[in-house]
Protein backbone atom coordinates (compact mmCIF):
# COMPACT_ATOMS: atom_id res chain seq x y z
CA UNK A 1 0.00 0.00 0.00
CA UNK A 2 1.27 3.47 -0.82
CA UNK A 3 1.67 6.72 1.07
CA UNK A 4 -0.57 9.34 -0.52
CA UNK A 5 -0.08 13.04 0.14
CA UNK A 6 -2.53 15.49 -1.40
CA UNK A 7 -2.43 19.30 -1.37
CA UNK A 8 -0.36 19.45 1.79
CA UNK A 9 0.41 22.95 3.07
CA UNK A 10 1.94 24.05 6.35
CA UNK A 11 2.84 27.40 7.90
CA UNK A 12 5.00 27.82 11.00
CA UNK A 13 3.94 30.38 13.62
CA UNK A 14 0.86 31.32 11.66
CA UNK A 15 -0.47 34.85 12.25
CA UNK A 16 2.68 35.97 14.02
CA UNK A 17 5.48 38.25 12.79
CA UNK A 18 7.59 35.10 12.32
CA UNK A 19 5.05 33.41 10.06
CA UNK A 20 6.79 31.17 7.54
CA UNK A 21 5.22 29.04 4.87
CA UNK A 22 7.10 25.76 4.91
CA UNK A 23 4.96 23.65 2.57
CA UNK A 24 2.78 24.90 -0.24
CA UNK A 25 0.31 22.55 -1.92
CA UNK A 26 2.49 19.44 -2.04
CA UNK A 27 1.07 16.27 -3.61
CA UNK A 28 2.95 13.02 -4.07
CA UNK A 29 2.35 9.27 -3.94
CA UNK A 30 5.13 7.06 -2.62
CA UNK A 31 4.76 3.39 -3.50
CA UNK A 32 6.04 0.37 -1.65
CA UNK A 33 9.58 -0.54 -2.74
CA UNK A 34 10.64 2.96 -3.74
CA UNK A 35 13.87 4.63 -2.70
CA UNK A 36 12.80 8.26 -2.71
CA UNK A 37 15.52 10.87 -2.30
CA UNK A 38 14.35 14.26 -1.06
CA UNK A 39 16.59 17.15 -2.05
CA UNK A 40 16.48 20.93 -1.73
CA UNK A 41 18.10 23.80 0.10
CA UNK A 42 18.05 24.19 3.85
CA UNK A 43 14.68 25.77 4.56
CA UNK A 44 13.02 24.48 1.38
CA UNK A 45 10.49 22.35 3.27
CA UNK A 46 12.13 18.89 3.16
CA UNK A 47 12.14 18.31 6.91
CA UNK A 48 8.64 19.69 7.42
CA UNK A 49 7.46 17.31 4.71
CA UNK A 50 9.00 14.17 6.20
CA UNK A 51 7.86 15.06 9.70
CA UNK A 52 4.28 14.97 8.45
CA UNK A 53 4.70 11.38 7.32
CA UNK A 54 4.68 9.95 10.83
CA UNK A 55 2.55 12.57 12.49
CA UNK A 56 5.31 14.51 14.24
CA UNK A 57 3.74 17.61 12.79
CA UNK A 58 -0.01 17.74 13.06
CA UNK A 59 -1.70 17.85 9.70
CA UNK A 60 -3.48 21.18 9.18
CA UNK A 61 -4.04 21.58 5.45
CA UNK A 62 -4.38 18.80 2.92
CA UNK A 63 -4.72 15.02 3.06
CA UNK A 64 -2.27 12.30 4.05
CA UNK A 65 -2.94 8.60 4.02
CA UNK A 66 -0.17 6.24 5.09
CA UNK A 67 -1.25 2.74 4.04
CA UNK A 68 -4.70 2.45 5.59
CA UNK A 69 -4.08 5.10 8.26
CA UNK A 70 -5.92 8.27 7.37
CA UNK A 71 -4.32 11.26 9.08
CA UNK A 72 -7.42 13.32 8.35
CA UNK A 73 -9.49 11.03 10.56
CA UNK A 74 -10.73 12.45 13.83
CA UNK A 75 -8.37 10.30 15.88
CA UNK A 76 -5.78 8.72 13.60
CA UNK A 77 -3.91 5.78 15.11
CA UNK A 78 -0.63 7.63 15.63
CA UNK A 79 0.87 4.82 17.66
CA UNK A 80 0.52 2.41 14.76
CA UNK A 81 1.61 5.10 12.30
CA UNK A 82 4.87 5.56 14.16
CA UNK A 83 5.49 1.82 14.13
CA UNK A 84 4.94 1.70 10.37
CA UNK A 85 7.01 4.77 9.56
CA UNK A 86 10.39 4.79 11.30
CA UNK A 87 12.17 8.11 11.50
CA UNK A 88 15.95 8.48 11.73
CA UNK A 89 16.76 12.11 12.46
CA UNK A 90 19.91 14.04 11.63
CA UNK A 91 22.75 13.08 13.93
CA UNK A 92 20.63 10.34 15.53
CA UNK A 93 23.51 9.39 17.81
CA UNK A 94 22.68 12.45 19.91
CA UNK A 95 19.45 10.72 20.91
CA UNK A 96 21.03 7.68 22.52
CA UNK A 97 20.16 7.69 26.21
CA UNK A 98 20.04 4.31 27.88
CA UNK A 99 22.66 2.51 29.96
CA UNK A 100 23.32 -0.30 27.53
CA UNK A 101 23.07 -0.74 23.78
CA UNK A 102 20.50 -3.53 24.17
CA UNK A 103 18.25 -1.38 26.40
CA UNK A 104 18.54 1.58 24.07
CA UNK A 105 17.64 -0.45 20.99
CA UNK A 106 14.83 -2.16 22.92
CA UNK A 107 13.14 1.10 23.91
CA UNK A 108 10.89 1.25 20.83
CA UNK A 109 9.75 -2.36 20.83
CA UNK A 110 9.16 -2.23 24.61
CA UNK A 111 6.88 0.76 24.07
CA UNK A 112 5.04 -1.28 21.45
CA UNK A 113 4.13 -3.58 24.38
CA UNK A 114 5.63 -6.64 22.73
CA UNK A 115 6.48 -9.71 24.80
CA UNK A 116 9.94 -9.82 26.37
CA UNK A 117 10.96 -12.65 24.03
CA UNK A 118 9.84 -10.69 20.99
CA UNK A 119 11.65 -7.54 22.20
CA UNK A 120 14.84 -9.56 22.71
CA UNK A 121 14.53 -11.20 19.30
CA UNK A 122 14.07 -7.84 17.60
CA UNK A 123 16.90 -6.17 19.49
CA UNK A 124 19.32 -8.93 18.51
CA UNK A 125 18.14 -8.87 14.90
CA UNK A 126 18.36 -5.07 14.64
CA UNK A 127 21.85 -4.91 16.14
CA UNK A 128 23.06 -7.61 13.77
CA UNK A 129 21.39 -5.98 10.77
CA UNK A 130 23.27 -2.74 11.35
CA UNK A 131 26.49 -4.73 11.25
CA UNK A 132 27.42 -4.84 14.94
CA UNK A 133 28.27 -7.94 16.96
CA UNK A 134 25.42 -8.45 19.44
CA UNK A 135 27.47 -10.30 22.03
CA UNK A 136 30.17 -7.68 21.89
CA UNK A 137 28.08 -4.53 22.18
CA UNK A 138 24.76 -5.49 23.82
CA UNK A 139 25.82 -4.86 27.38
CA UNK A 140 28.12 -1.93 26.69
CA UNK A 141 27.21 1.70 27.19
CA UNK A 142 26.33 3.30 23.83
CA UNK A 143 28.47 6.26 24.87
CA UNK A 144 31.65 4.17 24.82
CA UNK A 145 31.27 3.43 21.10
CA UNK A 146 32.82 5.27 18.17
CA UNK A 147 30.80 7.88 16.26
CA UNK A 148 29.97 5.52 13.39
CA UNK A 149 28.97 2.73 15.80
CA UNK A 150 26.75 5.11 17.76
CA UNK A 151 24.93 6.07 14.58
CA UNK A 152 24.38 2.39 13.81
CA UNK A 153 22.96 1.78 17.28
CA UNK A 154 20.61 4.74 16.83
CA UNK A 155 19.43 3.33 13.51
CA UNK A 156 19.02 -0.11 15.11
CA UNK A 157 16.71 1.51 17.68
CA UNK A 158 14.41 2.61 14.88
CA UNK A 159 14.46 -0.59 12.83
CA UNK A 160 13.81 -2.72 15.94
CA UNK A 161 10.26 -1.43 15.54
CA UNK A 162 10.32 -3.07 12.09
CA UNK A 163 8.84 -0.12 10.22
CA UNK A 164 7.60 -0.72 6.65
CA UNK A 165 8.86 2.72 5.72
CA UNK A 166 12.19 4.10 6.86
CA UNK A 167 12.64 7.87 6.70
CA UNK A 168 16.20 9.16 7.11
CA UNK A 169 17.15 12.83 7.43
CA UNK A 170 20.69 13.26 6.08
CA UNK A 171 21.91 9.92 7.38
CA UNK A 172 25.47 10.35 6.09
CA UNK A 173 26.07 13.96 7.17
CA UNK A 174 29.26 14.49 9.14
CA UNK A 175 30.68 11.01 8.54
CA UNK A 176 34.04 10.18 7.02
CA UNK A 177 34.02 8.56 3.55
CA UNK A 178 34.20 5.02 4.88
CA UNK A 179 31.38 5.76 7.32
CA UNK A 180 29.28 7.17 4.47
CA UNK A 181 29.73 4.08 2.33
CA UNK A 182 28.94 1.80 5.23
CA UNK A 183 25.73 3.64 6.10
CA UNK A 184 24.60 3.73 2.45
CA UNK A 185 25.18 -0.03 2.17
CA UNK A 186 23.33 -0.49 5.45
CA UNK A 187 20.32 1.45 4.11
CA UNK A 188 20.20 -0.83 1.05
CA UNK A 189 20.42 -3.88 3.32
CA UNK A 190 17.50 -2.56 5.40
CA UNK A 191 15.50 -1.92 2.26
CA UNK A 192 16.04 -5.54 1.21
CA UNK A 193 15.13 -6.99 4.61
CA UNK A 194 12.88 -4.96 6.89
CA UNK A 195 11.81 -1.65 5.38
CA UNK A 196 11.02 -1.99 1.67
CA UNK A 197 10.33 1.74 1.29
CA UNK A 198 13.11 4.26 1.91
CA UNK A 199 12.71 8.03 2.04
CA UNK A 200 16.06 9.79 2.41
CA UNK A 201 16.82 13.49 2.70
CA UNK A 202 20.31 14.16 1.34
CA UNK A 203 22.58 16.83 -0.07
CA UNK A 204 24.94 14.26 -1.53
CA UNK A 205 23.97 14.17 -5.21
CA UNK A 206 26.43 11.43 -6.10
CA UNK A 207 24.76 9.05 -3.65
CA UNK A 208 21.31 10.21 -4.72
CA UNK A 209 22.23 9.38 -8.34
CA UNK A 210 23.57 6.00 -7.35
CA UNK A 211 20.80 4.72 -5.08
CA UNK A 212 17.51 6.58 -5.50
CA UNK A 213 14.71 5.26 -7.70
CA UNK A 214 13.08 8.69 -7.66
CA UNK A 215 14.05 12.17 -6.54
CA UNK A 216 11.72 14.77 -5.03
CA UNK A 217 13.00 18.34 -5.37
CA UNK A 218 11.76 20.95 -2.88
CA UNK A 219 12.22 24.66 -3.46
CA UNK A 220 10.55 27.47 -1.51
CA UNK A 221 8.01 25.17 0.17
CA UNK A 222 6.91 23.67 -3.15
CA UNK A 223 7.53 20.23 -4.58
CA UNK A 224 9.02 21.20 -7.95
CA UNK A 225 9.83 17.80 -9.41
CA UNK A 226 9.56 14.16 -8.59
CA UNK A 227 11.43 12.21 -11.25
CA UNK A 228 13.77 9.24 -11.67
CA UNK A 229 17.36 10.46 -11.17
CA UNK A 230 18.43 10.07 -14.82
CA UNK A 231 15.49 12.17 -16.02
CA UNK A 232 16.01 14.79 -13.32
CA UNK A 233 19.74 15.17 -13.81
CA UNK A 234 19.35 15.24 -17.60
CA UNK A 235 17.90 18.70 -17.00
CA UNK A 236 20.89 19.93 -15.01
CA UNK A 237 20.42 23.53 -16.16
CA UNK A 238 17.16 23.71 -14.25
CA UNK A 239 18.78 22.36 -11.09
CA UNK A 240 21.59 24.89 -11.38
CA UNK A 241 19.02 27.63 -11.76
CA UNK A 242 17.59 26.85 -8.34
CA UNK A 243 21.12 26.53 -6.98
CA UNK A 244 21.21 22.77 -6.47
CA UNK A 245 24.22 20.68 -7.29
CA UNK A 246 24.23 17.81 -9.78
CA UNK A 247 26.39 14.66 -9.63
CA UNK A 248 29.95 15.15 -10.86
CA UNK A 249 29.41 12.53 -13.60
CA UNK A 250 26.57 14.68 -14.97
CA UNK A 251 28.79 17.78 -15.02
CA UNK A 252 31.49 15.89 -16.87
CA UNK A 253 28.99 14.45 -19.37
CA UNK A 254 27.71 18.01 -19.99
CA UNK A 255 31.24 19.35 -20.46
CA UNK A 256 31.99 16.56 -22.95
CA UNK A 257 28.76 17.13 -24.84
CA UNK A 258 29.61 20.85 -25.07
CA UNK A 259 32.77 19.79 -26.87
CA UNK A 260 30.78 17.77 -29.36
CA UNK A 261 31.32 14.32 -27.84
CA UNK A 262 28.21 12.20 -28.29
CA UNK A 263 27.76 11.15 -24.64
CA UNK A 264 24.33 9.88 -23.63
CA UNK A 265 22.99 10.39 -20.14
CA UNK A 266 25.31 9.17 -17.40
CA UNK A 267 24.71 9.94 -13.74
CA UNK A 268 27.26 7.74 -11.96
CA UNK A 269 31.04 7.49 -12.49
CA UNK A 270 30.67 3.90 -13.69
CA UNK A 271 27.99 4.68 -16.28
CA UNK A 272 30.00 7.68 -17.53
CA UNK A 273 33.09 5.51 -18.02
CA UNK A 274 31.01 2.97 -19.97
CA UNK A 275 29.66 5.77 -22.16
CA UNK A 276 33.17 7.12 -22.82
CA UNK A 277 34.36 3.65 -23.80
CA UNK A 278 31.37 3.22 -26.11
CA UNK A 279 32.19 6.51 -27.85
CA UNK A 280 35.87 5.63 -28.08
CA UNK A 281 35.03 2.18 -29.49
CA UNK A 282 32.83 3.85 -32.12
CA UNK A 283 35.59 6.29 -33.05
CA UNK A 284 38.15 3.51 -33.45
CA UNK A 285 35.88 1.22 -35.44
Amino acid sequence: MPIVVKNLSFTYMEKSPYEKKALDDVSIQIDEGEFLAVIGHTGSGKSTFIQHLNGLIKLKNGNIKVFDIDLNAKKPDLRRLRCEVGMVFQYPEYQLFDETVAKDVGFGPRNMKLSTEEVDRRVRKAIELVGLDYDEVAERSPFELSGGQKRRVAIAGVIAMEPKVLVLDEPIAGLDPRGKNEIMKLIIRLKNTISPTIIMVSHDMDNVARYATRVAVFENAKLLYSLPPDELFANSGELSRIGLDVPVAVKLANALRAKGVDIKSAITPESLVEEILRVKGGNNA
Binding site: A173, G174, L256
Partner: protein, 294 residues
Protein backbone atom coordinates in the same frame (compact mmCIF):
# COMPACT_ATOMS: atom_id res chain seq x y z
CA UNK B 1 57.54 39.93 13.93
CA UNK B 2 55.14 38.55 16.50
CA UNK B 3 56.49 37.03 19.66
CA UNK B 4 55.08 34.72 22.24
CA UNK B 5 56.15 34.24 25.81
CA UNK B 6 59.48 34.94 27.38
CA UNK B 7 61.45 32.09 25.88
CA UNK B 8 61.23 33.12 22.29
CA UNK B 9 63.46 31.65 19.70
CA UNK B 10 63.42 34.57 17.32
CA UNK B 11 63.59 33.45 13.77
CA UNK B 12 64.90 35.67 11.01
CA UNK B 13 64.26 33.36 8.11
CA UNK B 14 62.19 34.88 5.41
CA UNK B 15 59.56 32.19 5.71
CA UNK B 16 58.94 31.87 9.37
CA UNK B 17 58.08 28.54 10.90
CA UNK B 18 55.03 29.27 12.99
CA UNK B 19 54.41 25.80 14.28
CA UNK B 20 56.83 23.00 14.77
CA UNK B 21 56.21 19.48 16.05
CA UNK B 22 59.26 17.47 17.03
CA UNK B 23 58.76 13.72 17.46
CA UNK B 24 55.35 14.23 19.01
CA UNK B 25 53.39 11.30 20.42
CA UNK B 26 50.14 11.42 22.31
CA UNK B 27 48.56 8.61 24.25
CA UNK B 28 45.02 8.82 25.58
CA UNK B 29 44.97 7.14 28.97
CA UNK B 30 42.48 4.28 29.43
CA UNK B 31 43.56 3.31 32.94
CA UNK B 32 46.73 3.67 34.96
CA UNK B 33 48.64 1.17 32.79
CA UNK B 34 47.11 1.23 29.34
CA UNK B 35 46.46 3.89 26.78
CA UNK B 36 45.58 4.40 23.15
CA UNK B 37 48.33 5.80 20.98
CA UNK B 38 46.54 8.52 19.05
CA UNK B 39 49.65 10.14 17.63
CA UNK B 40 52.88 8.30 16.99
CA UNK B 41 56.15 10.18 16.54
CA UNK B 42 54.96 12.98 14.29
CA UNK B 43 57.32 15.73 13.16
CA UNK B 44 56.32 18.60 10.93
CA UNK B 45 56.57 22.33 10.60
CA UNK B 46 54.15 24.85 9.20
CA UNK B 47 55.26 28.13 7.70
CA UNK B 48 53.61 31.49 7.98
CA UNK B 49 50.86 32.06 5.43
CA UNK B 50 50.47 28.42 4.38
CA UNK B 51 47.11 26.83 3.63
CA UNK B 52 47.40 23.29 4.95
CA UNK B 53 44.68 20.65 4.67
CA UNK B 54 44.82 17.85 7.21
CA UNK B 55 42.91 14.69 6.41
CA UNK B 56 42.59 11.05 7.34
CA UNK B 57 39.94 8.55 8.48
CA UNK B 58 38.18 8.89 11.82
CA UNK B 59 40.61 7.90 14.55
CA UNK B 60 43.69 8.67 12.44
CA UNK B 61 44.87 11.36 14.85
CA UNK B 62 43.80 14.55 13.04
CA UNK B 63 41.86 16.11 15.89
CA UNK B 64 44.47 15.09 18.43
CA UNK B 65 47.04 16.86 16.30
CA UNK B 66 44.83 19.95 16.11
CA UNK B 67 44.36 20.09 19.88
CA UNK B 68 48.13 19.90 20.40
CA UNK B 69 48.65 23.00 18.29
CA UNK B 70 47.43 25.45 20.90
CA UNK B 71 48.06 23.50 24.06
CA UNK B 72 44.51 22.21 24.57
CA UNK B 73 46.33 18.94 25.15
CA UNK B 74 50.06 18.44 25.75
CA UNK B 75 52.22 15.80 24.08
CA UNK B 76 53.10 12.69 26.07
CA UNK B 77 56.40 12.58 24.15
CA UNK B 78 58.19 15.17 22.04
CA UNK B 79 57.52 18.91 21.86
CA UNK B 80 55.22 21.36 20.13
CA UNK B 81 56.54 24.87 19.47
CA UNK B 82 54.34 27.81 18.55
CA UNK B 83 56.36 30.83 17.45
CA UNK B 84 59.29 29.10 19.09
CA UNK B 85 57.58 28.73 22.46
CA UNK B 86 57.06 25.25 23.87
CA UNK B 87 53.41 24.43 24.71
CA UNK B 88 54.72 22.54 27.74
CA UNK B 89 55.50 25.43 30.02
CA UNK B 90 55.44 26.22 33.71
CA UNK B 91 54.29 29.73 32.98
CA UNK B 92 50.52 30.04 32.49
CA UNK B 93 50.88 33.33 30.65
CA UNK B 94 52.82 31.55 27.89
CA UNK B 95 49.97 29.17 27.17
CA UNK B 96 47.47 32.06 27.06
CA UNK B 97 49.68 33.84 24.56
CA UNK B 98 49.94 30.69 22.45
CA UNK B 99 46.15 30.34 22.48
CA UNK B 100 45.71 33.94 21.42
CA UNK B 101 47.97 33.21 18.42
CA UNK B 102 46.37 29.90 17.40
CA UNK B 103 42.58 30.09 17.16
CA UNK B 104 40.28 27.10 16.76
CA UNK B 105 36.95 26.74 15.01
CA UNK B 106 35.09 23.51 15.68
CA UNK B 107 32.48 21.38 13.94
CA UNK B 108 29.21 22.43 15.51
CA UNK B 109 28.58 26.20 15.41
CA UNK B 110 25.77 25.87 17.96
CA UNK B 111 28.28 24.82 20.60
CA UNK B 112 30.37 27.92 19.96
CA UNK B 113 27.72 30.62 20.45
CA UNK B 114 27.53 32.31 23.80
CA UNK B 115 25.72 35.63 23.60
CA UNK B 116 22.22 36.32 22.30
CA UNK B 117 23.34 39.23 20.08
CA UNK B 118 25.95 38.64 17.41
CA UNK B 119 28.23 41.58 18.24
CA UNK B 120 28.27 40.58 21.93
CA UNK B 121 29.27 37.11 20.87
CA UNK B 122 32.19 38.46 18.86
CA UNK B 123 33.24 40.76 21.72
CA UNK B 124 33.41 37.90 24.22
CA UNK B 125 36.92 36.76 23.27
CA UNK B 126 38.67 40.15 23.31
CA UNK B 127 36.80 41.10 26.52
CA UNK B 128 38.31 38.08 28.20
CA UNK B 129 41.73 39.07 26.94
CA UNK B 130 41.31 42.47 28.64
CA UNK B 131 41.31 44.43 25.39
CA UNK B 132 40.23 48.11 25.89
CA UNK B 133 36.66 48.96 24.92
CA UNK B 134 37.52 51.19 21.95
CA UNK B 135 39.74 48.50 20.49
CA UNK B 136 37.04 45.84 21.01
CA UNK B 137 34.56 47.91 19.00
CA UNK B 138 37.06 48.18 16.15
CA UNK B 139 37.84 44.49 16.22
CA UNK B 140 34.17 43.48 16.20
CA UNK B 141 33.53 45.68 13.18
CA UNK B 142 36.57 44.36 11.39
CA UNK B 143 35.88 40.68 12.17
CA UNK B 144 32.26 40.92 11.01
CA UNK B 145 33.25 42.64 7.79
CA UNK B 146 35.90 40.00 7.04
CA UNK B 147 33.30 37.21 7.22
CA UNK B 148 30.68 39.32 5.42
CA UNK B 149 28.21 39.51 8.31
CA UNK B 150 28.31 43.21 9.25
CA UNK B 151 24.64 43.74 8.43
CA UNK B 152 23.61 41.14 11.02
CA UNK B 153 25.53 42.58 13.97
CA UNK B 154 22.45 43.40 16.09
CA UNK B 155 20.67 40.13 15.32
CA UNK B 156 20.58 36.97 17.35
CA UNK B 157 22.87 34.21 16.08
CA UNK B 158 20.34 31.46 16.74
CA UNK B 159 18.15 32.08 13.71
CA UNK B 160 20.97 32.06 11.19
CA UNK B 161 21.71 29.32 8.66
CA UNK B 162 24.50 26.86 9.44
CA UNK B 163 26.94 28.61 7.13
CA UNK B 164 26.16 32.01 8.66
CA UNK B 165 26.53 30.62 12.19
CA UNK B 166 29.89 29.17 11.30
CA UNK B 167 30.99 32.54 9.86
CA UNK B 168 30.02 34.16 13.19
CA UNK B 169 32.06 31.52 15.02
CA UNK B 170 35.01 32.39 12.76
CA UNK B 171 34.55 36.13 13.42
CA UNK B 172 34.49 35.46 17.17
CA UNK B 173 37.89 33.78 16.93
CA UNK B 174 39.22 36.45 14.55
CA UNK B 175 38.44 39.17 17.09
CA UNK B 176 41.22 37.73 19.22
CA UNK B 177 43.60 38.52 16.36
CA UNK B 178 45.11 35.06 15.87
CA UNK B 179 47.89 34.44 13.34
CA UNK B 180 46.91 30.82 12.81
CA UNK B 181 43.43 29.37 12.51
CA UNK B 182 42.70 25.68 12.92
CA UNK B 183 39.39 24.55 11.44
CA UNK B 184 38.49 21.19 12.96
CA UNK B 185 35.91 19.82 10.50
CA UNK B 186 34.21 23.20 10.51
CA UNK B 187 32.41 22.41 7.25
CA UNK B 188 31.23 18.89 8.16
CA UNK B 189 27.77 19.82 9.41
CA UNK B 190 26.98 22.35 6.68
CA UNK B 191 24.91 21.95 3.54
CA UNK B 192 26.70 22.51 0.19
CA UNK B 193 25.79 26.21 0.11
CA UNK B 194 26.99 26.80 3.68
CA UNK B 195 30.15 24.85 2.96
CA UNK B 196 30.91 26.99 -0.09
CA UNK B 197 30.34 30.18 1.96
CA UNK B 198 32.67 29.07 4.73
CA UNK B 199 35.37 27.82 2.34
CA UNK B 200 35.32 31.17 0.59
CA UNK B 201 35.82 32.95 3.92
CA UNK B 202 38.66 30.60 4.90
CA UNK B 203 40.46 31.21 1.59
CA UNK B 204 40.07 34.97 1.89
CA UNK B 205 41.45 34.91 5.45
CA UNK B 206 44.50 33.13 4.12
CA UNK B 207 45.03 35.32 1.07
CA UNK B 208 43.90 38.74 2.28
CA UNK B 209 44.62 38.64 6.02
CA UNK B 210 47.69 36.42 5.68
CA UNK B 211 46.37 34.04 8.30
CA UNK B 212 47.98 30.63 8.35
CA UNK B 213 45.24 28.03 7.88
CA UNK B 214 45.11 24.42 9.03
CA UNK B 215 41.90 22.96 7.69
CA UNK B 216 40.78 19.52 8.82
CA UNK B 217 38.23 17.90 6.53
CA UNK B 218 36.88 14.72 4.95
CA UNK B 219 35.82 16.57 1.82
CA UNK B 220 38.73 16.07 -0.51
CA UNK B 221 37.31 18.68 -2.89
CA UNK B 222 38.35 21.20 -0.21
CA UNK B 223 42.02 20.33 -0.84
CA UNK B 224 41.84 22.07 -4.20
CA UNK B 225 43.70 25.37 -3.88
CA UNK B 226 45.61 24.33 -0.73
CA UNK B 227 49.40 24.68 -0.61
CA UNK B 228 49.80 21.38 1.07
CA UNK B 229 47.91 18.28 2.16
CA UNK B 230 48.91 16.23 5.19
CA UNK B 231 47.40 12.76 5.49
CA UNK B 232 47.26 10.92 8.81
CA UNK B 233 46.82 7.18 9.16
CA UNK B 234 46.70 5.31 12.46
CA UNK B 235 48.44 8.13 14.30
CA UNK B 236 51.24 8.54 11.79
CA UNK B 237 51.91 11.16 9.19
CA UNK B 238 51.90 9.24 5.89
CA UNK B 239 51.69 11.97 3.24
CA UNK B 240 52.78 15.60 3.04
CA UNK B 241 52.76 17.17 -0.42
CA UNK B 242 50.65 19.15 -2.88
CA UNK B 243 47.02 18.09 -3.42
CA UNK B 244 47.52 17.16 -7.08
CA UNK B 245 50.19 14.65 -6.06
CA UNK B 246 47.72 12.99 -3.70
CA UNK B 247 44.96 12.95 -6.32
CA UNK B 248 47.18 10.85 -8.59
CA UNK B 249 47.64 8.16 -5.96
CA UNK B 250 44.26 6.49 -6.01
CA UNK B 251 45.20 3.23 -4.29
CA UNK B 252 47.24 4.97 -1.60
CA UNK B 253 44.36 7.37 -0.89
CA UNK B 254 41.96 4.47 -0.69
CA UNK B 255 44.29 2.68 1.70
CA UNK B 256 44.20 5.81 3.91
CA UNK B 257 40.37 5.64 3.69
CA UNK B 258 40.18 8.95 1.87
CA UNK B 259 37.61 9.53 -0.79
CA UNK B 260 39.23 11.38 -3.66
CA UNK B 261 37.21 13.94 -5.63
CA UNK B 262 34.85 12.17 -8.05
CA UNK B 263 36.90 13.42 -11.02
CA UNK B 264 39.98 11.66 -9.64
CA UNK B 265 37.90 8.48 -9.22
CA UNK B 266 36.61 8.65 -12.80
CA UNK B 267 40.15 9.30 -14.06
CA UNK B 268 41.23 6.20 -12.14
CA UNK B 269 38.41 4.08 -13.63
CA UNK B 270 39.38 5.27 -17.13
CA UNK B 271 43.02 4.38 -16.44
CA UNK B 272 41.98 0.84 -15.55
CA UNK B 273 40.24 0.59 -18.90
CA UNK B 274 43.23 1.82 -20.86
CA UNK B 275 42.45 5.53 -21.16
CA UNK B 276 45.29 7.23 -19.32
CA UNK B 277 44.38 10.81 -18.48
CA UNK B 278 46.74 13.63 -17.54
CA UNK B 279 46.38 15.65 -14.33
CA UNK B 280 42.96 17.36 -14.26
CA UNK B 281 41.01 19.12 -11.52
CA UNK B 282 38.07 20.86 -13.17
CA UNK B 283 35.30 19.55 -15.41
CA UNK B 284 36.52 21.78 -18.23
CA UNK B 285 40.06 20.39 -18.02
CA UNK B 286 38.68 16.87 -17.93
CA UNK B 287 36.60 17.36 -21.07
CA UNK B 288 39.49 18.97 -22.94
CA UNK B 289 41.98 16.29 -22.01
CA UNK B 290 39.58 13.48 -22.82
CA UNK B 291 38.64 14.92 -26.21
CA UNK B 292 42.29 14.66 -27.22
CA UNK B 293 42.31 10.97 -26.27
CA UNK B 294 39.11 9.95 -28.01
Amino acid sequence: MQSVGNNIAVCYNKKMQIIELRNVSYEYPIDSENGIMALDNVSLSIEEGQFVVLCGANGSGKSTLAKLLNGLILPTKGSVFVYGANTVTQDDSDIYKIRSKVGMVFQNPDNQMIASIIEDDIAFGPENLGVPREEIIKRVEWALSVVGMSAMRKHTPFKLSGGQKQRIAIAAVLAMRPSVLVFDESTAMLDPKGRAEVMQVIHSLNKEQNITVIHITHHMEECIGADRVIVMKEGRLVFDDKPEVLFRQYDFAKDCKLELPVIAYITHLLGQRGIVMPEVQTEEEFAEALCRLL
